[in-house]
Each structure stands twice: as structure tokens, then as C-alpha cells.
């Protein structure tokens, strides 16, 4: 009997799971924004930031918390395209920092954010595993069919930049995979599953020696501007603006340039 029950359960469970999984897509009801109190007391700032900002923004978040006792900063890092979509669908965010103007435009077009400010620029590099098994030295090497290349999907900023750079170089690269954000792409290099990938210079630096970065001239033709904006319905209000101020301040610039980002005024 117990076995019978188990087998029935085994049927009911996956069916329920399958339907639950499917129903996750497409419903466009905005989630209630109940992240924080609107005024006074303990506050919480929710920052949606591009995956490439993981290290630097975490550091800035700690600095912000130290400067504003009682306020906590929560981060949601991911591909800018995903984050933009989540914000449009009503995710309760205070600040959005995107890796491209195009993904920021998704949010401003929906009238959900004020005017964004460009706070850094980022450049692509070829990332190869530390031992560089395919002996990659320049962009041209990636066109070799024997070299396994990972790129970001074209929907996300690092993928759009990669396409632009490859076009500029006239290089035809057939990747083995199109990853959903830049960190996932870098991970494939770190694990040695691919021979090379196009990722941001900052991600190569952040990987601390596990991958090697190779500069290539066409990267200059595909530089990504990173815009930041407070969201119109920011539940944290004033605190959200103060976080953006910190990112744009000299202190913010120092943290970001140390990680390999370029200041927006130098090109």
C-alpha cells in the first residue's frame, strides 16, 4: 500500500510542478512593493544592478551602510535585461544600475525612472583560462572552429557589445553557448569548459588570476556606458537618491576605477 501511494504521489507531484513552472511566465500583475517604510526609522535601499557590478556595488553598499547607520542596502545582481524586465513587471526596486543605455531605456520608456546618469564605462576583453589551452592571442584566433568560445546572449549588454566588437573586427565567431549574463559566461572560462570568452575587463580583474585577459583594439568600438537612476516609485525615497550620489561621488569613482571601470569623461 505504501508503495502504491508513493507511485501515485510520484505522478501527482511532477504534474503539479510542471503546471506551477509554466504558470510562472507571462502574468503581468505588479508585485506589491512593501520593502521598506516610506519615511523615518530603519530603512532599506533595494538596488538592482548589472552582474558586472557585483564586486564594486557590494563594497559601495557596505560603505553606504557605514555612513548611514540603520539603513541596509540589498542587491539584486543579474543581467541588465532581466532586471529591467523585473522592474517593468513591478519589482520593488529603489535604484537601477544597468550595463547599457538600451536596457535602461526599457525602464525609462515605461516612465518608471528619472533621468539616468552615466557613471562608468566598461570595455570588453578576451578572457582565457589561466593556462590558455587553445593559445589564444588575439581576436582572430576565436574564429578558429576548434576554439570553443562562450559569448553573452545578444539580449544582454555584454552580448550586444560582443556582437558590435566582432562586427567591427569583421570576425565571424561561432560560439558554443550564449550565456544569460556576464558572470555565467566568465564561469565557463574559469571552469575551463570553453577556451575563450568575451567579457568585461572588470570581470577578468575580479576573477583574481583564475582567468587571463587579453586586450584587443576593436574593444574600443564597443564600449558600454553604464547608466544609473532612482526609480520613480522608489520605496526608500531620499535614501535611494543618497545611494546614487555615493556612486557618482569621488569615493564611488575610486572604488569603480580600482576595479577596472573607466570614468565616463575619459575615452
Amino acid at each position: 500500500m505504501a508503495v502504491r501511494r508513493l507511485s501515485r504521489w510520484a505522478i501527482a507531484l511532477p504534474v503539479a510542478l510542471a503546471l506551477a513552472g509554466l504558470s510562472g511566465c507571462g502574468s503581468g500583475e505588479p508585485a506589491a512593493s512593501t520593502t521598506s517604510a516610506s519615511a523615518g526609522g530603519a530603512k532599506e535601499v533595494t538596488v538592482f544592478a548589472a552582474a558586472s557590478l557585483t564586486g564594486t556595488f557590494t563594497e559601495l553598499g557596505k560603505a553606504f551602510e557605514a555612513a548611514h547607520p540603520g539603513t541596509t542596502v540589498r542587491f539584486n545582481f543579474g543581467s541588465s535585461a532581466t532586471l529591467a524586465q523585473q522592474i517593468v513587471q513591478g519589482a520593488p526596486a529603489d535604484v537601477f544600475a544597468a550595463a547599457s543605455p538600451a536596457t535602461m531605456k526599457t525602464v525609462t520608456d515605461a516612465a518608471l525612472a528619472g533621468s539616468p546618469a552615466t557613471f562608468v564605462r566598461n570595455k570588453l576583453q578576451i578572457a582565457v583560462p589561466a593556462d590558455n589551452p587553445a593559445k589564444v592571442a588575439e581576436l582572430e584566433d576565436l574564429t578558429d572552429a576548434k576554439v570553443k568560445v562562450a559569448l553573452c546572449a545578444e539580449q544582454v549588454p555584454c552580448g550586444a557589445a560582443a556582437v558590435k566588437a566582432l562586427d567591427a573586427a569583421g570576425a565571424k565567431v561561432t560560439p558554443v553557448t550564449l550565456e544569460q549574463d556576464v558572470k555565467a559566461t566568465l564561469t565557463k572560462v574559469e571552469l575551463g569548459e570553453v577556451d575563450a570568452a568575451l567579457v568585461y575587463k572588470t570581470d577578468v580583474i575580479a576573477s583574481a588570476g583564475k582567468v587571463t585577459g587579453i586586450d584587443f583594439p576593436e574593444a574600443d568600438r564597443a564600449i558600454n556606458d553604464y547608466p544609473i537612476a532612482t526609480l520613480a516609485k522608489a520605496p526608500a525615497g531620499e535614501a535611494a537618491r543618497r545611494f546614487v550620489d555615493l556612486v557618482l561621488s569621488q569615493q564611488g569613482k575610486d572604488v569603480l576605477t580600482r576595479a577596472g571601470f573607466e570614468a565616463p569623461d575619459q575615452r
Binding site: S7, V15, A153, Q180
Partner: protein
């Protein structure tokens, strides 16, 4: 007292599906379904799920037989291990597969050095990821059927001189066929919906590894309407499976 939460529960389960149907771009539906990328993803999904199910049948039915019919030390442990992929988050399964079968993995390294085979980022990789996640469904279903089947028929066949293989093929298998079919259908449905292990282990490239769930996920970032259409296709497939299982599921005692 019980009716209100029951209705709330029903609404909770049905409303999202209704939302999917209401928001679907019906006028352009057929047009969108006929797009080459959609057909490519659908074809890849159907092929991979079917091959994965075949692999699961080939390995899973004997495994279920082992668990149900052969008494060996540590059987309970083995059964627990077999069901681990059932409760494991699929992404974790994908990472585990990458560490074992990846280019630098324990087995993958040897595969590449000896045969020049690499599994990540290939269609074979998708099939492996799907089979890994879906096989427990088949094993549990078939093992249940084996335990429910009357063993005296097998014993009778054995006393008449039939070998273990003959008994299995001519007596056991026909008896448990409904369980095998139900298990295979579930296994196929689970494989079809597989996302986490696939994107982690096999990556995402149109035509080779981008199955329907991956296409839904990517489409949602730029073209929510396309994601709805793809979701509808998967929903239709689930409903068809549910209908085909109905007799067994609803009328079981």
C-alpha cells in the same frame, strides 16, 4: 469552513494559467508559432526529451527491477540515492554534471583525452542533463509497479525452467507495462520542461542546446509576447500528458 480555502486554493492554481491564456497574442499566434526559432526550439525539445526518455527506459527499468526484486545490502541507501535528483535543485544537478562530465571533470577529462568527446554545449549534453533529472520519476514509478505485481507468477515461471531474463521479458514486463508507460510519460514531461540543469551543463545555443524552456526564459527579456506563445505550447503539451494519464491517475484506488 472548508469550502472557502478550497475555492481559494483552486483559484490560486488556475488563475495564473488563465492569465497566460488571456494575455496570449491570439491574432498573431499562428504566425509566431511558425517562426523558425520557435520550430527549431520545439523540434530540439521533442527530440531531446524523447531520446532522454529512451535512455531512462534502458537504464531505469533494470534499476527499478534491481531495487524491487534483488535483496542486497544497502538497498535502502541505493534507493535514497536514486531519488536524490528528484529533490535536488536542477541547477545544482547541472553544476555536478559539469564537474564530472565537463572538459576538466573527473570523467570528462578522460573522455576527451581518449575519445576526443566533449559533452558540455552539445545536444548530447542536453540529453544527459534531462535524463539525469528525469530518470528518478521513471524508476519510482516502475519500482512501484513491480512491488504491486504478484510475484507468484514469476516464481511459477522460474520453477518451469525459465531463466531470469525470460521471466523478466515474458512475465514481469507485460504485468508492469502500465506502470512503465506512466513512468515513461512522466519522465518525458519532466525532460521536456527541464531548464536548470540544461542551461548550466549544456549552455544555450539555437539549434543545438536551446530547448523550449530556455527559449521562454530568453524571450522574456526582450519579447514577453513570444515568451507567452512558447509557454502556451508547453502548457498544451502538459495538458495533453495530463489527459493521457487521466485514467490511471483519477481512477486509481
Amino acid at each position: 469552513m472548508l469550502v472557502l480555502p478550497a475555492v481559494a486554493g483552486l483559484v490560486f492554481l488556475v488563475l495564473p494559467l488563465a492569465g497566460l491564456l488571456i494575455r496570449a497574442p491570439w491574432p498573431t499566434l499562428l504566425e509566431r508559432l511558425a517562426e523558425p526559432q520557435v520550430l527549431e526550439a520545439l523540434r530540439l525539445s521533442l527530440v531531446c526529451a524523447s531520446v532522454a526518455t529512451a535512455v531512462c527506459l534502458l537504464l531505469g527499468v533494470p534499476l527499478a527491477w534491481l531495487l524491487a526484486r534483488v535483496d542486497f545490502p544497502g538497498r535502502r541507501l541505493v534507493r535514497a540515492l536514486v531519488t536524490v535528483p528528484l529533490v535536488l535543485p536542477p541547477v545544482v544537478g547541472g553544476v555536478a554534471l559539469l564537474l564530472v562530465l565537463g572538459r576538466r571533470g573527473l570523467v570528462g577529462q578522460w573522455l576527451e583525452a581518449t575519445f576526443g568527446i566533449t559533452l558540455p554545449f552539445t545536444t548530447a549534453g542536453v540529453i544527459i542533463a534531462e535524463a539525469f533529472v528525469a530518470m528518478p520519476f521513471l524508476v519510482i514509478s516502475v519500482e512501484g509497479a513491480l512491488r504491486g505485481a504478484d510475484q507468484r507468477f514469476e516464481e511459477a515461471a522460474a520453477t518451469l525452467g525459465a531463466s531470469r531474463w525470460t521471466v523478466f521479458r515474458r512475465v514481469t514486463l507485460p504485468m508492469i507495462m502500465p506502470g512503465v508507460v506512466a513512468g515513461a510519460v512522466l519522465c518525458w514531461a519532466r525532460a521536456l520542461g527541464e531548464f536548470g540543469a540544461t542551461i548550466t551543463f549544456a549552455g544555450n545555443f539555437p539549434g543545438t542546446t536551446r530547448t523550449m524552456p530556455l527559449a521562454v526564459y530568453l524571450a522574456l527579456e526582450t519579447e514577453p509576447e513570444a515568451a507567452i506563445v512558447l509557454s502556451l505550447v508547453l502548457l498544451a503539451v502538459s495538458v495533453i500528458i495530463l489527459a493521457s494519464l487521466r485514467d490511471r491517475w483519477v481512477s486509481s484506488p
